[in-house]
Amino acid sequence: MTPLLEIRSLSLEIPVNDGLLRPIRSVDLTVERGETVAIVGESGCGKSLTSLAVMGLQPQNARLSAERLAFQGESLLGLDRRRWQAIRGKRIAMIFQDPMTAFDPCYRMGDQMAEILRQHRPVSRAEARERIVALLRRVGVPAPEDRLDQFPHQLSGGLRQRMMIATALLCEPELIIADEPTTALDVTIQAQILRLLADVQQETGVGLILVTHDIGVVAGLADRVVVMYGGEVVESGTTDEVLGSPRHPYTAGLMRSIPVPGRTRRGQPLGHIPGLVPRPIAPLTACGFLDRCEFRHEACAAAPVPLRSGAGERQLRCLLPIETPRQPAEPLVAATAIA
């Protein structure tokens, strides 16, 4: 069966004053129906751009190339504006990080939501209203009829995000892309919104791409994980494989830097990844993570590192052995740390 979304060797190049930015370098990604795939990484790793490219929303001067970019077996490459409009918002929907800026502050919530529905479906105003109220009730918005007449600023952050999820569900999409859906929310609201996303997916069987930097969110929600660094996929696999035994030094570093009550000792230095995400300006001539890696050796500097497959579904872009688990050398990190 064809996957819901299939991306092979997606690259993005953006001409800038001093050369060519390469924020996405040959990324592979597949999403099946009913599956949640998380894309994880620090800011500037290309995770948001990858998800925008799936929607055809890459920056205007960007050059996109891919071996294959297909949704339900149908290629998305080179679609014109009209064909895109039939897909965007209808078959692929997006949930943004900040619901305050995603809604238009000058229009009532009900009108904004109805516009989207009526753009894609031949429904009357009354029918649209009925469907919106039903969906708002479904996502746990109290007093949904009253909300339709409110403006975005009159709603709390949690309510706005629930209404954003309802908006994404309006046209019964087959794929939802959620870009940091809970980053702007309080912790208790985050838990409720993630629960809602999980329930919605269970009911509708929609495919979900979850873009996040929070490994805790990934552990709670995702079936598979794709870890991105410097525009490349550096590790991928099932959530159990990747989080259970992270093999790439970057994945391991991300996981060690998070304080966990009861497990990390209070006041003890947390692990961290020294250095910064590099600006993706030149073609890679070595491992992209070279400068920040605690395990680097000569071979890493010789040539770009290919993505290799291991047992199960795991793929890894690292010269270190895939199968032998290694305990990251903590003292080494502490010694090189400036902080």
Binding site: A191, H213, A219, I338
Partner: protein, 319 residues
């Protein structure tokens, strides 16, 4: 006597609502807290709980509507502006907006000394270099502008600027919320180290229990302008007594497999500070609430472990 003492502090704001008569927003509704010298106290709560207002009161940027805040036994309002700035310094959430984009790193860090007229240009630059070393900023960045720095570097500049005048107290309002996790851990490590080497007293304000729990000696949990629970970090984490604290703890998503999503037992939404619920402010959301909770405001009681709840939890949550 504690270094920093908050006694019955409240802060109200007049809110205009179009043609209607102004209403009163009670951001801080009566807080008693003491911070000992050399301690790290964390204040935790969600948006709208008044934690940032409390930070502004502690910095002396705003005066409490009633109650008092004293530093070293003297009301904070009695200090002059410069005098106060020598004693207490802030670190804000967003290093993108807390630094002047037209000032170099060295200029921003040296500004507090310049305002006070300490030393000459050369001695100030030496002090800047010294503090840049201490916070882990390479010296070649001294001439850089904020736009040339990463988020973590900017937060280090903000920390260096706060520390150059050798203050006694640091008020950190969400110091890592705008940063990536790997950078967050560096800033947390840095704060822990500076706390030791500068013998700082730190008030750490955050919505993330896991982050503050990692640094703080004591934790105070706020809900709608009041402290609902306070105590030593380990004790509060191991055995939360207030139902709200327990929900906050449950909501933490650790990067561990097999936990699934947390099942929260919170009803409804965060109440509006314009119309706080009667009795215990948490009662409309609490699954344990009884009649007493709707009528009487629970007092913050206890000695080391303080809790404001009519029916506090007793048993540990995690077996």
């Amino acid at each position: 006597m504690s270094l920093l003492e908050i006694t019955g502090a409240t802060r109200h704001y007049q809110v205009s609502a179009g043609l209607r008569r102004g209403r009163v927003l009670q951001a801080v509704r009566g807080i008693d807290l003491a911070v000992e010298e050399g301690e790290i106290l964390a204040i935790v709560g969600e948006s709208g709980c008044g934690k940032s207002t409390l930070a502004r009161l502690l910095l002396g940027i705003e005066e409490p509507s009633s109650g008092s805040i004293t530093v070293g036994g003297r009301p904070i309002g009695a200090y002059g502006r410069v005098e106060r700035a020598r004693l207490i310094q802030p670190i804000f959430q967003d290093p993108y907006s807390s630094l002047n984009p037209r000032m170099t790193v060295a200029g921003a860090i040296a500004a507090p000394l310049e305002v006070r007229g300490v030393g000459n240009g050369r001695s100030r630059l030496a002090a800047v270099h010294e503090i840049m070393d201490a916070v882990g900023l390479a010296r070649y960045l001294a001439g850089a502008y904020p736009s040339q720095l990463s988020g973590g570097q900017r937060q280090r500049v903000a920390i260096a600027r706060a520390l150059i005048g050798e203050p006694k107290i640091l008020i950190c309002d969400e110091p890592t919320s705008a940063l990536d996790v790997s950078v967050q851990s560096q800033i947390l490590n840095l704060l822990a180290r500076l706390h030791r080497s500068f013998r700082l007293t730190i008030v750490l304000i955050s919505h993330n229990l896991a982050v503050v729990g990692h640094l703080a000696d004591r934790v105070a949990v706020m809900y709608l302008g009041k402290v609902v629970e306070a105590g030593p970090t380990e004790a509060v984490f191991a055995e939360p007594r207030h139902p709200y604290t327990r929900e906050l703890m449950q909501a933490i998503l650790p990067p561990e497999l097999g936990r699934g999503l947390p099942e929260l037992r919170l009803k409804g939404e965060f109440p509006s500070p314009l119309a706080p619920p009667t009795g215990c402010a948490f009662h409309p959301r609490c699954i344990r609430a009884g009649d007493a909770c709707r009528e009487a405001v629970p007092e913050l009681a206890g000695s080391e472990r303080l809790v404001a709840c009519h029916y506090p939890l007793r048993e540990p949550v995690h077996a």
